[in-house]
Symmetry: C2
Subunit: 713 residues, 2 copies
Amino acid sequence: MIVSALLTSVGINFGLCVLFFTLYSILRKQPCNYDVYIPRLLAEGKSQRRGNFIFEQLLPSTGWVKRAWQITEEELLVSSGLDAVVFMRIFIFSLRVFCLAGIIGIFVLLPINCLGTQLAQFDIAELSSISLDLFTISNVNNGSNWLWAHFCAVYIVTGFVCYLLYYEYNYISSKRIEYFYSSKPQPHQFTVLVRSIPVVAGSSVSDSVENFFTEFYPSSYLSHMVVRRTNKIRGLIDKAKKLYKRVTALQSGHTKTKYGREGYLGLFGRKVDLVDHYEKKLEDLEENVRLEQSEASLAGEEIRAAFVSFKTRYAASTACHMQQSINPTRWVTEEAPEPHDVNWPFFSSSFLRRWFSKLAVVVVYILVTVLFLIPVVFVQGLTNLDQLELMFPFLKSILTLKFVSEVVTGYLPSLILHLFLKTVPPVMKFLSSIQGYISISQIEKSACNKMFWFTVWNIFFGNVLSGSVLNQISIILDPENIPSKLAVAVPAQASFFIAYVVTTGWTSTSTELFRMFPLICSLITNPCGGDKDDELEVPRPPYHRDIPKILFFGLLGITYFFLAPLILPFLLVYFCLGYIIYRNQFLNVYSPGYETAGKFWPIVHNSMIFALVLMHAIAIGIFTLKKLSIASTLTFPLPVFTLIFNEYCRKRFLPNFVAYSAESLIKKDRGDIHDASMEEFFESLVTAYQDPALLPIQYSSHTDGRSTPLLGV
Amino acid sequence: MIVSALLTSVGINFGLCVLFFTLYSILRKQPCNYDVYIPRLLAEGKSQRRGNFIFEQLLPSTGWVKRAWQITEEELLVSSGLDAVVFMRIFIFSLRVFCLAGIIGIFVLLPINCLGTQLAQFDIAELSSISLDLFTISNVNNGSNWLWAHFCAVYIVTGFVCYLLYYEYNYISSKRIEYFYSSKPQPHQFTVLVRSIPVVAGSSVSDSVENFFTEFYPSSYLSHMVVRRTNKIRGLIDKAKKLYKRVTALQSGHTKTKYGREGYLGLFGRKVDLVDHYEKKLEDLEENVRLEQSEASLAGEEIRAAFVSFKTRYAASTACHMQQSINPTRWVTEEAPEPHDVNWPFFSSSFLRRWFSKLAVVVVYILVTVLFLIPVVFVQGLTNLDQLELMFPFLKSILTLKFVSEVVTGYLPSLILHLFLKTVPPVMKFLSSIQGYISISQIEKSACNKMFWFTVWNIFFGNVLSGSVLNQISIILDPENIPSKLAVAVPAQASFFIAYVVTTGWTSTSTELFRMFPLICSLITNPCGGDKDDELEVPRPPYHRDIPKILFFGLLGITYFFLAPLILPFLLVYFCLGYIIYRNQFLNVYSPGYETAGKFWPIVHNSMIFALVLMHAIAIGIFTLKKLSIASTLTFPLPVFTLIFNEYCRKRFLPNFVAYSAESLIKKDRGDIHDASMEEFFESLVTAYQDPALLPIQYSSHTDGRSTPLLGV
């Protein structure tokens, strides 16, 4: 790729960003878009839909940037929870790392690279047509002593990253404990989930649980709630919900659209009062639901799993840590998630079945990850003009046009990749959900991990190796030669990844701000709809989609900072954009669905360690390739020390992210002893883990015409 | 190697075995050898040293075989503990596996191998001079359908081994729980070891422990015992012990040897009464010890570690499972070992120091394992006559002698290897002891693991690969080609390993019975000594030395049974010998030093799984090499299923070997509530973990001339 192609790509994307920003600052002020851009404020009642038109609403403004900039971490913690704070810490961490790396890269390494003559003389006069490779380490002369600058940079940045990783782990760890100490009593702190409950013939799961825990935990056991099979009821409730929506739509649209709709629906039927008809149907459905619910309460529909609540947090934690039964595959305990975090639909109970589905998911995950390479290879082909002309000869005339060829090489490949990648997070989330996790937070955490490795394998290795040796996945089976092969392949893809940062990175953050898909959906369903309060669903922050993306850019930065320092300014822009935009989104759009209290951070830590070690492997290969084998040898201690550092962090901080210590649990329990509200809390705890599908529903209007649904109260 | 060489080797070793057996059955009846052959019976007072001579004592007899055969598992459990039972289960397991494998191997595979003509026609007339390779799979014709027999054998044996592994794991797991239920209250069940105790300035470790546990475990905390630095005292006590021995020797030998010794010692000194002189010295030393002991009781000599005892087993286990402090590197708890199992000399406390020494040990272990290859390569060279003649031309004339060449190829290599290996277990034990384990049992368990992998690497891979590609250790770095390389190299070494089983296996078990080294030591120190009761030390079973050896023979059997079935009869003889001999030794010689209640079994299980997967890898390679690639492909599921099976066993059984379940702990605690002797037990618990170096000592005779030492009471 040449400089002008990069500039084209930067130009297009910069334009897109500006466009999105402008549109956003205009559209968000239109009341009809409030539920796209500020659903959270609407739901919290902090903003009202006002109808009156003000001319200012059509002028772009930057007030939102200021507001997003001004909120403190404390405010973010209060409004969006610790997970949002951790999410923003990824940006702060990345900005810090790439500020230092950027200074070293741009002011030290870039001039050295340009001064080299290995590939070609750097000619400032023909700037726009020279290859981007001249800015990379490949242009430094073989055996040149200037390479020691790169060597030092690798050491300095590794040290700095490790220091920051330690600092952040420590910081978030203390935040997590602070959060625990300051939290109100919450049901999940007092509860464990028990699975694989053995049942003797003639007795129910409930009896079995009651007997076991009253026998072994007589002083601390409080209550339990057996999980029941409710898939059927859930289906019926969904139907009822839809019907209720239609009824209310008919009722509210009585004067305006009733006839039109009636006509349309009645084309092939008798003319009846549709509202009455649906009301009748709804009542039948509700009757059905009630029947099913009472049936589900019988022992036959019990799943061999139960939420067991204790009187203290310490007792719950003890039950969770200890192997309960002599047979370790029975009475398997784990921490209970928050009640609203439970993923009720996928509740399988048998130990063996869960274990096999886990194995199956691993296999499917590997297959998906490997098969995904096919479109990536295709996309990679597009960046190679010659190959394209060879494959599609009829394109030859078009491809000779300068602009077209620049778009093809600079922009199109990343865009296609980007669109393909859009479909992956939901797939990963689905895979995680059938893996046996019982809470949405665990599912998203697992999906987050899956997504990261998927991205690394497909985007990083897929692109790096496809140019040379992709067809043999066997490179991984030849670990000895990984550094030398990476050293050849990685710098060669520098320009692709610079373009990738600009296209995918910049554009994805600005579409995140602009919320393109929700906006389109909203425009289609409600061209400029009126009263939609009932249906307003505040979206949850898509951690499993966005964290791997941000981490991948971090990985790109760490691996490329000394190979192609030109990537750093673009990355810094990306992280700055992200920092502002996500703060704004947390403020206005997303409402936290659960609180893991920072359990996402270990994923961040691990991926950064991986990035460091990968960078070291490439450095070892590059220094050998550049005939400076002393530097290559001297780089060897780095990955070793990085891994030892990681091991230390695992020992020092990770346990705090898995469970709370006895010290904090007992202290917290003691603090509650004289709290008068605990009595009330324990009462609510007994029913906290009731399956929402088993709660009574009431949509039909035979008591009140506009009764609000009682579901999920 | 040709058949006659093997026969020579078998002949020599059979002769040696018969010799050892005969000598054993004669020598063990001589009273002066009682402390070599039946130290345990002596110590337990079941046998007395009788002086009167009976002629029968000079005739070999087989009564001991009958006695060893007759004891039941129950008796063994009572007399030598669960660890001995587990040890013997390895033999039972191996015998079962190799009976089936032997039947298949000898009656099905061996004829098939001999019928092949790939290497040469099998000629029964020239039996003694044909190569052993004709008995291996290498002689089956390429692409022959007879190979499907080998394929089926691999499947059948894998299935059978897995079934037996499951059965044994289940059996030993239930034995372990039974043992726990039937055990008397023991100090280590109620105690945890706490390390990395933080101390505020001006307070002692003891205060810190007291405060922490009375605050957080007010109802269950019983007492604690801080560990102190006692290396200096230990040195002094050792000196005092030696001096005491000398004094008693002088006193008892007063009439016989006093003058002789006095003359020898007094060559360059004044003539004084030596007994008085040493008595005086001993008193001084004891005074010194007492001074040091009172100094050690001060706070300054405290190590930041303590044994904390609780009132119930459940409370101790809880404290052990939970992270105690907010900082997970402080108040680190682990299960306490039995009081007499504690390895006092190596007691380092700091979290970081222990962690670094662990890392260092790993590095040293890898170095030792890799450097050990040098003698192995040398030994391997000896088996190759041509190479030997090339290296030492002057040997040519000797090596042409048939007998010499047979000894060199058939016997010498294994013997040298065997002698080298003798030095390894103590080294491994030392490495494990500085790794931070605090009990002898943990050290031996870890050394057992180290020894097994050491043996596999050096004996198996060292011999298999040295013939072809040893010099490149890089084969491990090329995992894709492992099966094909193994397929070439492993069958080629079949004859070496058959000889290895005969020499090392047979001879090592018979020397185990004969107790060559202790016998020699005893002969040197006490040509036919009289009263040695005071010094009699009953040896502990050397699990870390013998378990890896037995497991390695199991690995050899599993990997070679379908390649060279001829190995199986020799292995069966080995296991039969071992079964009888070790039962005899447990009965007469070894006294258990500790009781891990079967914690050695997971090592056995893992090594067998490794052997299976290795065998599958070789099978895949062999079938490809033999041009039967369908069989090769069809073998692929086997390692996968074996690993899944292993994973299941890890979940199903391993937790029971790590800790006891809440259910069993609570039940056991309840059983004690009405036990009157518990009061007494708790009193003894308070001082159970007193460092023996801090107990008062009394060797000198100023109270009583023949006082027995109070050490370790």
